[in-house]
């Protein structure tokens, strides 16, 4: 293999260079690869719709093994399927699926946020789900085109340092943080998917100008920039910042690991404030899925009461299937006066990124 491999790659290099040199675009370089894949890579398994799924199913999970590994194990035991899971970051996996093209071995994409699912849907890579699956969750928490479904919910909150602040010190709207008294005290994660979903919601509800003005207002307060929610919580605990814009459940995990002395708490913004957006982690089936019926079985399994209770108890997220209660310490989903928004409106990430960049944040 060692002797033939460099030659094959050398040939590929030549072909790619040639395509680039001839001014061939990415799209003209891609199709040339198709005959190769169909000949050797993945013989598509014909599936009869009624039979119970068999064989193997490949899941690309943007949610980590420590979160969903136990669920996958239960699914494997319940169905007897050969379940393979590739764990990595949600955006890395969505980029991988796009690079793989039609040769993707993945059946299901289980994403941390709706934005990544939207990016794949926009490229036509997600297949339609049956209504029976979609109808298990509220209309707010699924794709209007029916190509992905929300599995668990996460609320945007403001986390604060209990050593220097009480909830009474905090503004009741996310808009309040543009006040100069917050200068140098805010931590945020502008590259984070959940944050960007929030900015997109802002744009949808209040318009681009208002969203940009808010971003510029926060930027003027010299916020500290972090890579993710988790880093923000660590920074609050370390006293780098006093407040941070995060998802609700990161705090619950820190409390579980570090105990109640962890000096950070969440504030759920009241009155339908934009800052209280509820986003979802969700899943969809790829159009190129080698085993779509098994993929369907996995998504349905995520929406069983048992799995939904798992999310409530183990990841501290909100179950989305009606009738399954959330962690008692959380404000119930129904009581979060979340802004009235359709999550599928949050697909314009490129526009949001552009706005964030125009505001000089990134």
């Amino acid at each position: 293999m060692r002797s033939s491999f460099p030659r094959a790659l050398g040939g590929a290099l030549a072909a790619v260079l040639l395509a680039a040199a001839c001014g061939g675009s990415a799209s003209s370089a891609l199709p040339s690869s198709e005959p190769l894949q169909t000949s050797s890579a993945m013989p598509s398994t014909p599936t009869s719709p009624s039979a119970s799924p068999s064989g193997s199913v490949t899941i690309y999970s943007g949610r980590s093994e420590s979160l969903v590994g136990p669920l996958v194990d239960r699914f494997r035991a319940a169905t007897g399927l050969d379940v393979k899971v590739k764990y990595a970051g949600t955006s890395e996996l969505s980029a991988t699926i796009l690079e793989e093209g039609d040769a993707s071995p993945a059946d299901v994409f289980f994403a941390q946020d709706a934005g990544a699912l939207g990016a794949l849907a926009a490229e036509g890579r997600l297949a339609g789900l049956p209504n029976a699956t979609l109808d298990r969750v509220d209309r707010r928490f699924r794709s209007p085109d029916g190509v992905w479904v929300g599995v668990s919910g996460r609320a945007r909150v403001v986390a604060y340092d209990t050593r220097v602040l009480t909830e009474a010190d905090l503004p009741t709207s996310i808009l309040g943080y543009t006040d100069p008294i917050w200068k140098g005290r805010i931590g945020w994660a502008p590259t984070n998917g959940s944050f960007q979903a929030f900015v997109t919601a802002f744009r949808v509800l209040r318009g681009d100008e208002a969203a940009k003005a808010w971003l510029e207002g926060i930027q003027a307060n010299e916020p500290k920039v972090y890579d993710g929610n988790d880093a923000i919580l660590a920074a609050i605990a370390a006293g780098e910042v006093e407040v941070g814009f995060v998802n609700h459940y990161y705090l619950m995990r820190q409390l579980a690991e570090q105990g109640d002395t962890f000096p950070v708490r969440n504030q759920f913004l009241p009155n339908g404030d934009i800052g209280a957006l509820v986003n979802v982690a969700g899943a969809g089936i790829l159009t190129t899925a080698p085993n779509p019926s098994a993929a369907q079985a996995f998504i349905d399994y995520l929406l069983t009461a048992e799995s939904q209770e798992y999310f409530a108890g183990e990841t501290y997220e909100y179950p989305l299937v009606v009738g399954v209660p959330a962690d008692p310490r959380l404000v119930p989903l129904a009581e979060i006066a979340a802004p009235d928004i359709d999550l599928s409106d949050l697909a314009d990430l490129a526009g949001t990124l552009r706005l964030i960049q125009e505001a000089g944040v990134l």
């Binding site: 790619v16 590739k86 970051g89 890579d227 660590a234």
Partner: protein, 549 residues
């Protein structure tokens, strides 16, 4: 042998050709065709990511280009250059004295220090970064200790200062190890002669030892700088805008592969500039490159006298910052998690997988590096330089870029290899090849072609003469290069995640899987195993290096 007088001049005037090692080679001056073809293939493999990036960049829409080609991008470029320069300078300031102290002096506990100061090479920069925030943040552990003295908060350690500090601590071992190897390989005769001629110790170091070390320092510094360029973990934790972070932002925030590709190509341009600078430095110091070690005896030990205390303080500070604080943080995660009842999982699979893939990548790199180093050392030419530089192009790219390039190339041209261990190993071997080039090239220059020529006059073929006579002499350099590749591979994350076979956990993916969700206690066990595995490797490496040939 190089004359002592010419060494004592300090700066090279006219570099004597061939280091005075006798007549030019008997063999034809042109490189043998099979060697050239092998090198071109290796360079082709290393350039594949560039080809991929060009394909992707062509797909960018023109309006989006405005976003990339705006003043902010040039600010990012400027801060990246600043970071690279500071990390380069910092790793030399830390690495060179440590190398000298642990090889040439009577530093108390010299062998132990030698291992301790090299181990941080294996600690992922994001672990060091995280530890620093926890320890030195405004309300970190240090503030907690100072609180009784009325210290409410400390200044923030983020930004350029924090990023430089963490990356210097993560990357100085590259300078340390290459300088150490050079100190052990060079003949102490010149230094001794200079001493006998009455030069003071410091003068000897500055005018004799340092010029000999420049190629090794430059080679190590190059790896450190490129490490800083590619790093994502530390810069993102410490909120510093480098190219690497800007590239991730494109993937993460807008799923835009075209803009990411354009930024990555700009980063490659910067990489070429850095390798060019290193090449210039190396050529200017060429007069002193790799004097043959004629004597088999060890260098005389320099007694430190009262200087041993500052020397010990220096070593302790480096070990405290680069090793004790990160490992202490890992231990603290473990203790805190266990006391709160967290469930720990033993990472036996991950450890075995990390070891396997690391060892295979190390062997692969060493196999690939021999022809490249041979071409550069024996048949220097413009083409040879280009081939050597080509192997560096991918080295400074963030792992995610290489991983996506390999995904695209493999699925479209060699689908059978996709998500196999073989592909992962080949990708690592090619990507980390530059870490082995420097040491092997230096060793080859030192060994010279005369032995082989002698073998050939006795009737050996060229390949046989090389394998039997030269290769054994390269062993220490091959071991050193392979060990570097091993250490870097075991801590690598994005390629392991995306290119590994499904279900293939390594220590790095286990740490990531737990820490990314805030389960630090679960991350602690694999992190501790990673550090232990690496410490063992470093100890073996140093033993192999000090063993007389």
């Amino acid at each position: 042998m190089l004359g002592v007088e010419s060494l004592r001049r300090g700066r090279p005037g006219r570099p004597p050709r061939d280091g005075g090692r006798g007549a030019p080679a008997v063999t034809a001056p042109g490189a043998p065709l099979p060697l050239l073809v092998a090198c071109l293939l290796i360079a082709g493999l290393a350039l594949l990511p560039v080809a991929y990036l060009m394909v992707r960049a062509v797909g960018a829409d023109v309006a989006a280009l405005d976003l990339v080609l705006r003043p902010r991008t040039f600010q990012v470029a400027a801060s990246t250059v600043a970071l690279a320069l500071l990390v380069g300078g910092g790793t030399i300031v830390v690495g060179v004295p440590l190398a000298w102290l642990t090889t040439r002096t009577d530093l108390p506990g010299r062998r132990l220090w030698a291992v301790l100061v090299a181990v941080p090479l294996a600690i992922p920069s994001y672990v060091i970064g995280f530890a620093f925030i926890a320890a030195f943040g405004p309300r970190g552990a240090l503030q907690g200790m100072l609180a009784p003295l009325g210290v409410e908060r400390l200044p923030s350690i983020g930004g350029l200062f924090g990023a430089t500090l963490v990356l210097v601590l993560a990357a100085y071992p590259y300078v340390l190890l290459s300088t150490r190897a050079a100190l052990l390989q060079t003949d102490p005769a010149a230094e001794e002669a200079a001493r006998l001629l009455g030069d003071r110790r410091l003068t000897v170091f500055r005018r004799v030892t340092l010029p000999i070390l420049i190629p090794a320092i430059a080679a190590g510094g190059l790896l450190a700088v490129l490490y800083a360029l590619a790093d994502f973990g530390a810069v993102s934790l410490l909120q510093f805008d480098s190219f690497s972070r800007a590239i991730y932002v494109q993937y993460r925030a807008s799923f835009d592969r075209a803009l990411a590709a354009i930024l990555a190509l700009m980063l490659i341009a910067l990489t070429l500039l850095v390798t060019w600078g290193e090449g210039r430095l190396r050529r200017r110091a060429g007069a002193y490159a790799g004097p043959v070690r004629a004597s088999r005896r060890p260098a005389t030990v320099v007694p430190l006298g009262r200087w041993r205390w500052p020397a010990l303080a220096f070593c302790s500070t480096v070990v405290l910052l680069a090793l004790a604080i990160p490992t202490g943080t890992i231990a603290w995660w473990l203790v805190r998690g266990v006391s709160q009842g967290a469930i720990l999982r033993f990472a036996a699979d991950g450890a075995l997988n990390s070891f396997t893939v690391g060892a295979a990548a190390a062997i692969g790199s060493v196999v690939l590096v021999v022809p490249v180093a041979l071409l550069v050392a024996r048949y220097p030419s413009r083409l040879a330089t280009i081939i050597e530089r080509a192997t560096f192009t991918g080295y400074a790219l963030p792992g995610i870029v290489i991983a996506l390039a390999v995904v695209f190339i493999a699925t479209s041209s060699v689908p059978l290899l996709y998500q196999t261990l073989a592909l992962l190993v080949i990708a690592y071997a090619v990507r980390f090849l530059p870490q082995a080039v420097g040491s092997v090239r230096t060793a080859l220059v030192g060994v010279g072609p005369r032995l082989e020529e002698a073998g050939r006059t006795l009737g050996d073929g060229p390949v046989r003469a090389f394998l039997q006579l030269t290769l054994p002499l390269l062993r220490p350099a091959l071991v050193a290069g392979g060990a570097l590749v091993f250490l870097t591979t075991v801590k690598e994350l994005p390629m392991a995640l995306l290119l590994g076979p499904i279900g293939f956990d390594t220590l790095a993916t286990e740490i990531w899987g737990a820490a990314s969700e805030g389960f630090y206690a679960r991350a602690a066990a694999p992190a501790a195993i990673l550090v232990a595995l690496s410490a063992g490797t470093v100890a073996l490496l140093l033993r192999a290096e000090e063993r007389p040939r």
